[in-house]
């Protein structure tokens, strides 16, 4: 239990430090509107991070999540907007493909990194076919949800808290989540205990597909239109978010709450760099440096724990 607490302490701390720095430089950010602006884009990134986490949880990695979210965004902005029934069917088919990939990877013992790499071409191609030029429109109900202004807290924060709670219940508390983490920890022993690892891996990928769809929808709700490259950076962002949140690449050791906080930290790092008026040349580099600093801090925390 203590281990879990420490695992979470660092993501929370890094988010708090960044948030403190932002408030110190721009006190006006400490308001409903300010927070909303800061964390607006966090919701789709957090959803994509959870999707990535579900795949990392079973010891794989998904290099196609960015193109998949782009594809889902394109479907949402075109098919789901114009002919909702077709749109829902296509998105459901996408989730089906994800589940099938999980089964294929387990059945043939394929390297997930290559299969998802190949799929990134497929999703990218489908997105270009659907939406050759940027455009489309967000379905009204999605815009309404994403732009809602609930009392007390901005929508982005409410959504992230709900997401953290839901994925915590799903992954950490439920019997299914325990089994899935078991696949990441020791797939053979799960199989020996009589479970079908093919089904479990398909389930993990299918769930990742569902969160990918949600991420695409949320993104369109915020951006009000889509294009085929809208979420390409999510692949790397989501991996970084999972690791920042205390997850590890092997052994099914992941933290859903940490992953959401990791995604928030990455979003905030972007806003923070805009606030300090850093030259755009150095923005990407500074994000790299922030990532390195947080990981260095994690090392210090770990050293102290083992000492």
């Amino acid at each position: 239990m203590k281990g879990i607490d420490l695992r979470l302490a660092l993501p929370v701390l890094s988010l708090a430090v960044l948030l403190g720095a932002v408030f110190w430089m721009q006190p006006r950010a400490m308001s409903y509107t300010g927070l909303n602006l800061l964390f607006n884009l966090a919701v789709p990134i957090a959803l994509a991070t959870i999707a990535q986490m579900l795949v990392i949880m079973v010891d794989d990695i998904d290099l196609s999540i960015g193109t998949y979210v782009s594809f889902c965004a394109c479907v949402t902005a075109t098919l789901l907007h114009d002919t909702p029934v077709v749109g829902i069917l296509v998105l459901a088919a996408g989730v089906g493909v994800y589940a099938a990939l999980g089964a294929l990877i387990e059945l043939q013992k394929l390297p997930a990194i290559v299969v998802t790499l190949g799929m990134s071409f497929v999703w990218g191609g489908l997105a270009v076919l659907l939406l050759p030029a940027p455009g489309g429109a967000s379905p009204d109900w999605i815009t309404t949800i994403m732009k809602a202004r609930p009392p007390l807290m901005p929508m982005a924060i409410v959504a992230c808290i709900l997401l953290a709670l839901a994925s915590h219940l799903l992954v950490t508390r439920s019997a299914m989540g325990t089994l899935l983490r078991g696949v990441g920890g020791n797939a053979r022993s799960v199989a020996r205990a009589g479970w079908s690892v093919v089904r479990l891996r398909a389930l993990a990928y299918g769930l990742a597909g569902v969160f990918g769809v949600l991420s695409g929808m949320a993104l369109v709700g915020l951006a009000t239109s889509a294009d085929a490259n809208i979420a390409l950076r999510y692949t790397l962002l989501s991996i970084a978010g999972v690791i920042l949140g205390g997850g590890e690449f092997t052994g099914g050791r992941v933290s859903p709450v940490g992953a959401v906080i990791g995604a928030l930290t990455l979003t905030l790092a972007g806003s923070f760099l805009t606030f300090i008026r850093l030259s755009p040349d150095w923005q990407i580099g500074a994000q790299g440096v922030i990532l390195i600093l947080v990981l260095a801090a994690r090392l210090l925390v770990r050293r102290r724990r083992t000492a």
């Binding site: 290099l63 013992k109 990194i113 190949g118 071409f121 270009v128 990981l295």
Partner: protein, 313 residues
Amino acid sequence: MIGPTVTRPWFWAFAAAAVTFAATVALTGSQGGVELLMATLTFASFSVLVGLGQMAVITMGPGNVDLSIPAVMTLAGTLSLKLMNGAAGMEIWGLLAALAIGVAAGAGNYALIFLLRIPPIIATLSASFVFQSLAIWSNRGLRIKPPDSLAGFSTGASLGLPNLAWIALVAAMAFWLLIERSAYGRRLSAIGQNLRAARLAGIPVEGVRAGTYVLSAAMAALAGFLLSCFSGGAALNMGAEYLLMSIAVVVIGGSSIAGGNSNVPGIWGAAMFMFLIVSMLNSYGLGAGVRLVLTGVIIIGIVTAASGRRLPG
């Protein structure tokens, strides 16, 4: 025992390349064949150079992958062209500068992995952000042409083969010797097969890892240098497609993504295949979207087919 398991994946990459070549020539006619072959050899060279470095890294086992290749390519191409500034007589300094940038970037990557104990994926990813920023900052939209001698060399041919293909062939042979015949290669495979056992056997694990990350970055820098000479200048996005490419050629070429087993000839087969597949789909007049989808489906198909043969039962 090792013979058949190694040659089989090697064979599949070349077979796939041959089939796509035949399918393209069947459409364009035989007179287009030589041109297509030359173009294939030229463009495959870049993928081979980055693929060889990536292969050495991936051989070290799960989690080892170099995501900084595109950024290192861009940085080395940009800075070396800036140093040469199009002047004759500076070629060797440009090349040395590019390689030095590669070595420094590789050392930086490894320092992060070793000092921070973070997974190489995250280390090389964070480092690549910094490299990318350096390239953006030093490039600033200005476009410097390479010296004429280098532009001529990188687009020219000798003894019937493109010069770039000669370089990539020599590099592949050097890697083959390094991996199959040298102590370094044995150590590399041993680390990939079982890190703990390698460490207990007294292999200088950290030294080999450091050397491998430096090697990969140096190969990326060389590829970036040649690519910017070949295309008449460095562009900020010039490395972008080589991230996926470097991983794809390693795996399609038959090296084990789980590490411990590398395959040098397969890199050439896979690199030619990856170029040919795009030109085949192009010559069949398919749009960008369909082309991407088919490329992805074919990659997954090949990996599935190859793995089915590699793991009987």
